[in-house]
Symmetry: C2
Subunit: 477 residues, 2 copies
């Protein structure tokens, strides 16, 4: 059976059966769970991908689509606990050879790309055409477009440009039975039928395999101004955001909130001194400008922004701050934010949560949840940062003396954080997706009608359950 | 049977059986097709709506959801050619009593509304809170939010804010069997499962009945500058758009293209004189500003825009233009654009198309299609206007001497326009939807796999086919 399967796959596309390479590709992105699979197949075209799916459908073989393997939720690797029989019918489908940027259209502001294009390569191609592809996230040097779309990835510019979903116009998808669904329309308005595209975006490869996409590009800002501001109290973040948004409109491109703990961790890891006297909460924000300008216009804009900040300082909402004077300044400030995950990991890591709540409930959710956690686990140490503008926080919990403390109480900590977030109308899978990690938690917490409908769609699109099984939603075989 | 149905519905919700009122509500929005129905049911809550759906499901009665009845494609009224037996099992479900604005949250920038809220009422409530709900279209005084979302309505601000789909965060939907699907999450980031929301947005009431929504509000611009500019040649629209977009970034809120014919029609109908020597094509565009400002900043901004326009005039791309000096000026310029549909209707109407193509193919599509039409129908007179920024045109065709000419050749004209648009990678249902009018045309032109998947979803969500049957996609009963 495996021999037939391998033989047929080898005739259809490039195949890797070397056990070391298969094992390596089956290790999840965080290096925690070692999955099992028979082989890696690497189609180089839509036709090859379709043929692979047809073969796998015939053999009832599981297909695990994989791009850059940067999932934080075990979404792109096979299960560790497969039986030998199951592992012998599990195929990793890598998109690496589907790596062409097929077109950049600067009038329509669109890019046509294959699923295996690395996010940073697309960003570069867009910049070379005087445009930007605005989705930006830590893994952009290895994440591939297919995975970015399949997980509806977020990042630091969602406030202004939306998640991956907002940036995709057209899609080509190979369905579970190998049929090709061509939704490759480069249109900003199209109401000619149901929105099939958005069913695949965010479905984590469980409803189809994305092979191509048409993505929106955006006009490139001329410059950005980065501000790092210390808040008087956490609640001042609302005032600061609301005032800046009214002042800047859509020029407000990013608005990050950073707790004292992760900021101190990264400053210490990088041997940098705090740029001002730190308070418990710091905001990092970008304001951009467009088009030709004059010195007079720049000076006037500058003066208006400084007036606003002077107001906020007089009111105590902001206690200190730095404004970037150049792009190098801006990058140096952003390096603090971008350095957090690595610095925390090197310091022993913590229990991570990727949650969102309405922006108006974010302050109370942080305060209430931290109080609850400290009450139950006095030695826990919250290390919170994230995308305030999107209501999305990385609500991570370490220990006062040692990271081990939080990991020892992981299940209870997770429950407290998730229940608090859900009580505030939030989501326990904000931008990293569900993967295998959060499936059971979704089953515990989601509305029955919603889960039933998700299962019905999975059955409609993948009746034999061969696509990335066990991710997002579990269906009886 | 009808008696049972009516009795049960009367116990569940407000019921109208007066034949005159039922007939009036069964006439489509353009006044062309007189449908047939048994009664109008007007639930006042989600619970009543759910009960109505349960009753109708039990009786296998058709349910036609209706908001403001402003559909241009016969999407919100029952069929004219029903048998008596069918008409006796056809119920109009009006959302008019679901008309509460439940919450405006100025920190999260969201509004929670019931489906029957009139679009203009929501716009007003948002403005009173210092925000805007940016979706704006001709029918906003009568269109209701449920219909706006069910049709993924567009309008003049899609360039900047997207269609209705981009403005909805949460949704409550009553399914065909009366179950309530609660997707009411006010979140900008939520990857906790499949995107069920976008399946209902744009499905024209064929997959479920929308009862509530959480909508995005946006910060209010401080002011807008409206420009009316005459183009040298049609192709100059690309240069003008690209230069303005680079100059303004997201401050470019609207970009409309208007042909000479519709502009002359509206000028003549309203007794206005042309503000400059007309060329074949005119552009109407809005640029907005945010926040506190100073005279110096306004003057500098003004000078930069004037430099850009001087450049474009020197190059011949723009031959003449007006810039608004006040909001009253801006409204007077927009009145020209908004007056077109009414003026054309009073002049006898024309054969209408609602199409989109990639922006980069719009010029060639206009030129090629007009040449083809004139070749086959020498007396036809194109009257084209629309949302260039979105690649969306109202590609309407009248007659040189009389509107009757175009109507006599309607089927062939439609075929020429639609085939040209599809050949350019476009859509024949850009913003008005499919309704009953374009179902057959979609069947003729859509990819088989896409149609099959649409049918599979319809069967999954509405197995008995009771929801707005015959709209969007036809399924064997």
């Amino acid at each position: 059976m495996s021999d037939d399967l391998l033989g047929e796959l080898r005739r259809a596309a490039s195949l890797v059966t070397d056990p070391d390479r298969v094992r390596e590709a089956s290790l999840d992105g965080r290096g925690r769970r070692q999955g099992r699979a028979l082989a890696i197949v690497r189609p180089a075209s839509t036709e090859e991908t379709a043929e692979v799916l047809k073969i796998c459908a015939r053999h009832r073989a599981r297909v695990i689509p994989q791009g850059g393997n940067t999932s934080n939720v075990e979404g792109a690797t096979p299960d560790p606990d497969l039986t030998d029989r199951e592992a012998a019918r599990t195929i990793l489908l890598q998109t690496h050879r589907l790596n062409r940027i097929l077109e950049i259209d600067p009038v329509n502001n669109t890019a046509v790309v294959e699923a295996g294009v690395v996010l940073a390569d697309l960003q570069r191609a867009a910049r070379e055409a005087g445009r930007i592809f605005p989705l930006s996230l830590a893994a952009e040097g290895s994440a591939r477009i297919g995975g970015v779309l399949a997980t509806n990835a977020g990042g630091v510019h969602v406030l202004r440009y939306g998640s991956a979903r907002s940036l995709v116009l057209g899609l080509e998808v190979v369905l579970a039975d190998g049929r090709v669904l061509n939704l490759m329309r480069a249109l900003r308005k199209d109401n000619s039928g149901y929105d099939l595209r958005d069913l695949f975006v965010g479905s984590e490869g469980t409803l189809g395999v994305i092979t191509k996409a048409i993505l929106k590009l955006e006009p490139a800002p001329r410059a950005r101004r980065t501000l790092l501001l210390a808040l008087g109290r956490l609640a001042d973040v609302e005032t600061l955001f609301t005032r800046l948004e009214a002042h800047c409109g859509p020029a407000l491109e990013a608005f990050e909130l950073i707790g004292r703990a992760p900021l101190e961790t990264v400053l210490s890891a990088e041997g940098r001194t705090a740029p001002f006297e730190l308070t418990d909460w710091t905001v990092l924000t970008d304001i951009c400008t467009y088009g030709d300008t004059s010195d007079g216009q720049d000076d006037a804009r500058e003066a208006a922004l400084e007036d606003l900040l002077t107001d906020l300082m007089a009111a105590g909402a902001v206690t200190a701050g730095i404004l970037s004077r150049s792009e190098a300044d801006a990058q140096s400030l952003w390096a603090l934010r971008e350095g957090i995950p690595g610095a925390v990991k090197r310091a022993g890591g913590n229990v991570k949560h990727d949650v969102s709540v309405p922006r108006s409930r974010l302050v109370e959710t942080i305060e209430r949840t931290c109080a609850l956690l400290t009450e139950h686990f006095p030695q826990c140490a919250p290390s919170i940062f994230g995308h305030y503008g999107d209501g999305n926080l990385h609500f991570n919990i370490g220990g006062v003396d040692s990271p081990a403390y939080a990991f020892e109480h992981e299940a209870q900590i997770r429950r407290i954080v998730h229940d608090a977030v859900l009580a505030a109308g939030g989501s326990i899978a904000a931008e990293h997706g569900v993967g295998a990690m959060k499936v059971a938690e979704l089953e515990r917490t989601k509305d029955a009608a919603e889960l039933e409908l998700m299962r019905a769609l999975k059955r409609t699109l993948d009746p034999d359950g061969i696509l990335n099984p066990g991710r997002v939603v579990r269906v009886e075989p």
